[in-house]
Amino acid sequence: MTRFTSYLALAFALALTGYAIASDTMPAPPQAKPIAIKGATIHPVSGADIPSGTIVFDNGKITAIGADAAIPAGAEIIDGTGKHVYPGLINANTVLGLVEIGAVRATVDVEESGAINPNVRSITSVNPDSELIPVARSAGVLTALSVPEGGIISGQSAVLKLDGWTPDEMTVLSPAAMHLRWPNLTIDRRPRARKSAKDQQKEIEKAQKQIRDAFQIARSYWQARKNPGPDFKTDLRWEALMPVFDSKLPLFVHASTLAQIEAALAWAKEMQLKIVLVDGDDAWRVAAQLKESDTPVVLGPATSLPSRRDDDYDSAWSSAAKLQKAGVRFCIASNGRGAETNERNIGYEAGLAAGYGLPKEEALKAVTIYPAQILGVADRLGSLETDKAATLIVTNGDPLDFPTQVEAAFIDGRKIDLSNRQTRLRDKYREKYRRK
């Protein structure tokens, strides 16, 4: 119960602060001086936990970490006694910034029309003032991949730090990946299916042809572009796919069922393209193949229903454990559109996977260093190491379990305001009852 009382005290303190600055959340100013968090349990993720250690960061980067890391003169010292320091959590499949209120069309910028849109880029539509962003980071999610959706080739995603005045300031990496969505291959054979099995088969064949054609044409374009003749004309779509052929832009393939995953893997092999698998409900069924081809998986949320009537009740919950056991590279993410308002819960997804067989330290990695690696930003993010970005959280416990609070967060060493639309409303109505 002691933890609980201290929590109450903290909540009270937060409430007061929140009330005092009842205004829109401000982006934090650049780190002005060195900061040291002292006496906390530090979880670098990349190495063993350091009980009662110190972490120092300056100019946005971690400068020292250890049991007796030296604290530079003039540093702001934060007493971390009883606290825990973790890298900021990373959610590798979101639509943050692109969707505000799912049901209000005017606030949705996530699906361009048409099936082949490799040229559209999420970073151009990210709304830095989205109320969803402060909510996500208040739970320790400090980095997110913002992914365009829809069609077959949906466009290019961006890795965002969840604080900044402009999309540019928020950008960690853009473009981060090209997103291809494998068409549904399952034919609904129920008598009341929307379309006949024959028509469904036709749709499937059409979509698969579109994928084959797009990449074959793009490859021709890529070759033609190397020595363009006088009549060469630009095509923005194929232009956008060139970095994929140059192995400069990873190809993320969203595929869920066994049939989709097998088709995607076979296609990638034929096209000699390295891919990252996203969603991957059935990925565990082909774990050996994924391991062999070194295909990483951005696993959909652990809290999802089994996709088939006969599946084990915990098939999604235990899916990460199965991939991990098989040696497949993976991370745990959410499922994009539909989850946008609760991207904060990614830590709980990992925790749940840990409840169903994933070792706890692996669960933590699955939302920190693993996504950083898969997104190609592990040189900067995902673990607490010197020279990496000081993007970290201070908590009063395990961030993958309840009722842990994130008490402070830093992005590039900048102390982030953890208040948000929700805490402001909470404080406003607490005040209503206080006045009664």
């Binding site: 799912g102 049901a103 009341r192 009537r309 609760n342 929700q422 009852y433």
Partner: protein, 1051 residues
């Protein structure tokens, strides 16, 4: 069986056909034809009724009626004599359900509208519909006044096709709507329609039909199964009221306001008293639903089946409704590719395997049934092969015959005229080459009303046997064997060809047999008894004469390689309920006493949380919670060391286990629809949620209407039938809703006219209906005037007003909440819960004052505009203001994690762990008014509890066991075992199905007659065929398994 409604008709028609010649009102043109209509069918084996056979006897027919049957019937001189030696006579068969060629507007609406996917401008196909005319029901799906007899327009081809199968009569059924209309029983002779009708109105046909794909927009009531059932119920009440109102008006026209005239209600009123009701069903639960309705309105039910009857045969055996069974046994599922097999559920495989045994299982259970050709794609090919398959699966031949004769005759009230061979019955007969229920025998002639109709096989001569052929001075042995349709002929040891058409025989043989050089001889002749004689041509020898004499009859030899087919037996796996993976063989046992020892027990009651404590359960009830309890002798003991025990979780907002439609979203007010009518006990969600510790839930109607349907509280007794899931003592409730959903804000451009379109209108429609219910109650008390129409919608609203029914109101914004609460206050209404109530934190003080519960989400928000102000502190803040608060799921997924959803209220809002757990246990029970029975671990309550591997509020804990009523419905260890067992069963069925699939997708064999007349293009691509052939050796070895199954067995 007694169908009084048909008796007067029977009498009338009996009179009509009993004259010397059929009386007709048609003016005669030309010379009259008065053939003596006397026939003697002699020397036949007569199966006069199931179980009654005369080995050699005569049937005497006079003027369309059977006058004598027996071994020694004296044949009158005027009789035309038919020598049927070696043949079998059956009573004419009755097809218990047929549409023949009724107009399109009476056939079922097509279930999907295939549109060309390549054409963006393609419009869905127009559905032919009758335009509404005359006085009739307000609802276009209620057409009980429609009579099949009025639409009969039979073409000869269709009736012949049925006759060729041996059917002399058929029930013709209009096939569309909720009340389809009435069926007619007709004889299948070639005659004018008016002569064919045996009974013009046999039964009213009822379908659970609704606007499935939203074709009819928001006017399309019903658009859910529960809506269809509500409409059925209200229509029966309306019919009864209509009759009473008309009577009342007739008595006092001067002082009574004239009631409406309505042909639909008039027809229904008349028929519900006189005729049976045929309910058309889609799955096994529909059978039970139909029986409930039949009980409620005291109808004589006939159930048009769906093939799944065997799954509920125990219940059917208790009620003994008559069944009409289609024989559309499923095709083998497509499982040859592993990723395809993955998409086929075990219950589908099981059903494929078991469906042909359905008739045998029902016969064993003593349930009467009739067969029909309906639903067969190609009855001419499939009907008899399916009947015979059912017989090989253990259905007795007598039972199969009864399903074609006596049972339908009784069902339709014509057993005195049809269904058996006896004096006084109509001369409807089937002449068969032998035992029709064994292979290879065929229907030769069908007699209808004393007229005979030959099939193509009738005059076919069986020339098989050994003959001596004489021609050109030679005598050669001629041996004819094989099947009738494919004779195997040898002349003098050389292969020859014989074709037979009626009595004409053509024999083609090598000319060298007659020393006529190269080429063939062609011999044609006539069969006369046991001889053939004729002429022929040989090369250079025209007009040679030949003859043959049969010296030995043909004796079919059973080929030694004709092993019993694996299809003749279902695999030997126990039947579970529900069918498919994770079903139960029986309800879990209830130990007399049970002691959980040494656990951390969260009672959610006055005892708080106890460490190292025990829980004692006796006969399903909690009898003690405390430290160091003694186990009674024989008690089952569960070691709870390191475990946590909590009350079963109760989900206050669930849509699990609902069949065909969560919402009756058509009308703004639908309080008449009942979730309780459509509980789906087969929903795997029940099992999955048990695995998350859920023991009870409030199954709610959706939120498309300000005043929606009635909810149903259930316990998760997985494996039981719907009625057994219902929580007996739960207070009835109803779903209300406010805001964006009910004003159709996010429904699209088509939905902009239904009232209400604003929150203002929402409040007004509620006031209006509450006033209507008050006035309805007042009217019920009046004695004079027209009888009051019983209105199930107003009745439900009236129950709200009288405090018998609780409102669960979907709500978000504070303004709408306050407006609704003020309406509730004005009408003194009990509000059980405000559901979602995401701005409850803004008005928690008002809610607390009004004593209204709040049932909310842990942290959902922002998915639509009205929830932009939702905050995760909502539950804790409402709780803090004294509101009875719960956290619910509204999701089949989240329902499985309600423990951690509750835990979020510790993080947001700082609830204590005990208070957090109460959000999903005792508080839920209180909101649903079931807290006297469940929700906490206290003496005397139901033993509904969960054993957790650790702290239930931690993400790392999982459910070990879930108990309801002292029975263990979920156990993680048993689940592991079940996975393996079901995977093994699945694999065995896949192996069996694969053999069948390979037959279907394999290369067509020569002489495969079935393939030849199958004009459809092959469904499997060449690639797929190749793949299947490659797979054959793999599957055949029995060693390799699907990768999915191997992996599924690992933890």
């Amino acid at each position: 069986m007694r169908f009084p409604g048909c008796l007067w008709l029977a009498a009338l028609l009996f009179f009509a056909v009993s004259g010397t010649a059929q009386v007709t009102t048609v003016p005669k043109q030309g010379i009259r034809e008065n053939d003596p209509r006397v026939h003697a069918l002699t020397n036949a084996r007569i199966v006069s009724a199931p179980g009654k056979t005369i080995e050699k006897g005569t049937v005497l027919i006079r003027d369309g009626l059977i006058v004598e049957v027996g071994p020694d019937v004296k044949v009158p001189a005027e009789a035309r004599v038919w020598d049927l030696a070696g043949k079998t006579i059956y009573p004419g068969f009755i097809d218990a359900y047929s549409r023949l060629d009724l107009p399109e507007t009476l056939k079922p609406e097509p279930t999907r509208s295939d549109v060309d996917t390549d054409d963006p401008n393609a419009k869905p196909k127009e559905i032919p519909r009758e335009s509404a005319k005359g006085t009739r029901s307000w609802n276009s799906r209620v057409t009980p006044e429609r009579k099949a007899a009025d639409y009969l327009n039979l073409d000869k081809k269709a009736t012949k096709a049925l006759r060729d199968l041996g059917f002399a009569s058929a029930l013709i059924v209009p096939g569309r709507g909720v009340f389809h209309g009435s069926s007619a029983l007709i004889n299948l002779q070639e005659a004018d329609v008016d002569t064919m009708v045996v009974a013009p109105v046999v039964a009213q046909h009822i379908g659970f039909d609704f606007d499935r794909d939203g074709r009819d927009g928001d006017r399309g009531y019903p658009n859910s199964l529960m809506g269809a059932i509500a409409l059925i119920r209200q229509s029966f009440l309306d019919a009864t009221w209509y009759q009473a109102a008309q009577d009342a008006y007739r008595k006092n026209p001067a002082t009574t306001e004239r009631p409406e005239t309505n042909a639909s209600l008039a027809a229904l009123a008349e028929q519900m008293q006189r005729n049976p009701a045929v309910f058309e069903t889609e799955d096994e639960l529909d059978l039970l639903r139909a029986l409930r309705i039949a009980d409620e309105f005291k109808l004589k039910p006939i159930l048009f089946g769906n093939g799944h009857e065997y799954r509920v045969r125990k219940t059917l055996a208790e009620k003994k409704p008559a069944l009409i069974l289609p024989l559309d046994f499923p095709k083998p599922p497509e499982i040859e590719r592993p990723e395809q097999a993955l998409e086929v559920a075990l219950d589908e495989l099981q059903h494929w395997d078991r469906a042909p045994s359905n008739p045998a299982r029902l016969a064993e259970a003593g349930i009467p049934f009739a067969f029909t050709t309906e639903k067969l794609e190609k009855p001419e090919k499939d009907f008899w092969s399916r009947v015979r398959l059912a017989v090989r699966r253990g259905l007795s031949k007598d039972a199969a015959l009864a399903a074609l004769t006596t049972t339908p005759a009784e069902m339709f009230g014509v057993a005195d005229r049809l269904g058996s061979i006896a004096p006084g019955r109509m001369a409807n007969l089937v002449i068969a080459s032998g035992d029709l229920f064994a292979d290879d025998e065929r229907v030769l002639t069908t007699w209808v009303d004393g007229h005979y109709y030959d099939t193509d096989q009738a005059r076919e001569r069986d020339v098989r046997g050994t003959w001596e052929l004489t021609a050109e001075g030679k005598m050669l042995p001629l041996v004819i064997e094989g099947k009738l349709e494919k004779l195997d002929v040898k002349l003098g040891g050389e292969k020859a060809t014989v074709s037979v058409k009626d009595d004409a025989v053509l024999l083609i043989a090598p000319a060298k047999l007659f020393d006529k050089g190269e080429g063939s001889v062609r011999l044609s002749g006539q069969v006369i008894g046991e001889t053939i004689a004729g002429t022929g041509d040989a090369p250079a020898t025209p007009n040679l004469r030949w003859s043959a004499k049969r010296t030995a009859a043909f004796t079919p030899v059973k080929k030694p390689d004709e092993k019993p087919s694996p299809l003749d037996k279902p695999l030997d796996f126990p039947e579970t309920y529900p069918a498919g993976a994770f079903g139960r063989v029986a309800a879990p046992e209830q130990p007399k006493s049970l002691l959980i020892q040494g656990a951390t027990i969260w009672t959610s009651g006055p005892q708080g949380t106890l460490q190292n404590a025990d829980l004692l359960v006796t006969a399903g009830k909690i009898t003690a919670v405390g430290l160091g309890l003694k186990a009674p002798g024989g008690a089952a003991i569960v070691d709870g060391k390191g475990m946590h025990v909590t009350p079963g979780i109760i989900d206050c907002h669930s849509h699990t286990a609902i069949s065909r439609g969560v919402n009756e979203s058509s009308h703004a007010v639908t309080c008449e629809v009942r979730i309780g009518d459509v509980i789906d006990a087969t929903d795997i969600g029940l099992y999955r949620e048990l695995a998350g510790g859920v023991t009870a839930a409030n199954i709610l109607h959706g939120s498309a209407n300000p005043m929606g349907g009635q909810n149903q509280v259930i316990k998760f007794r997985w494996g039981a039938l719907p009625e057994e899931l219902k929580f007996a003592d739960a207070m009835p409730g109803v779903k209300f809703a406010l805001g964006e959903n009910v004003k159709q804000s996010n429904w699209g451009e088509k939905f902009k006219t239904r009232y209400p379109q604003t929150r203002m209108g929402v409040e007004q429609i509620m006031r209006d209906r509450f006033r209507a219910a008050q006035e309805y109650d007042a009217a019920l008390k009046k004695k004079q005037g027209l009888p009051v129409r019983r209105d199930l919608q107003l009745e439900a609203i009236s129950e709200i007003l009288s405090g018998k029914r609780l409102i669960h109101c979907h709500s978000y914004r504070q303004d709408e909440i306050l407006a609704f609460l003020s309406v509730a206050r004005e009408f003194k209404i009990k509000v059980g819960t405000l559901q979602h109530i995401l701005e409850g934190y803004k008005v928690a003080d008002v809610m607390a004052k009004d004593g209204v519960g709040g049932s909310t989400f842990a942290d959902w928000w922002g998915y639509k505009f009205e929830v932009y102000d939702a905050i995760p502190d909502n539950a804790a803040m409402m709780n803090g203001q004294g509101v009875l608060t719960t956290v619910n799921s509204d999701s089949a997924d989240l329902a499985r994690r309600l423990n951690t959803e509750a835990a979020k209220s510790m993080k947001y809002g700082g609830l204590t762990p005990e208070d957090a757990l109460k959000l999903v246990t005792i508080n839920s029970a209180k909101q649903l008014r079931i807290d006297a029975k469940t929700g906490s671990l206290e003496n005397g309550k139901d033993a509904d509890f969960v054993i957790w591997s650790g702290n239930p509020l931690s993400n790392y804990a999982h459910v070990q066991q879930t108990w309801i009523d002292g029975r263990k419905y979920f156990d993680r260890a048993e689940d592991e075992e079940g996975r393996k067992a079901f995977a093994a069963q699945r694999e065995a069925l896949v192996q069996k199905a694969l053999t069948e699939r390979l037959k279907e997708i394999g290369p067509a064999k020569e002489g495969d007659s079935e393939k030849k007349d199958d004009k459809e293009p092959p469904k499997i691509s060449a690639q797929e065929q190749q793949r299947a052939r490659e797979l054959e050796p793999i599957y055949g070895s029995g060693h390799d398994k699907h990768t999915c199954l191997e992996d599924a067995a690992s933890p």
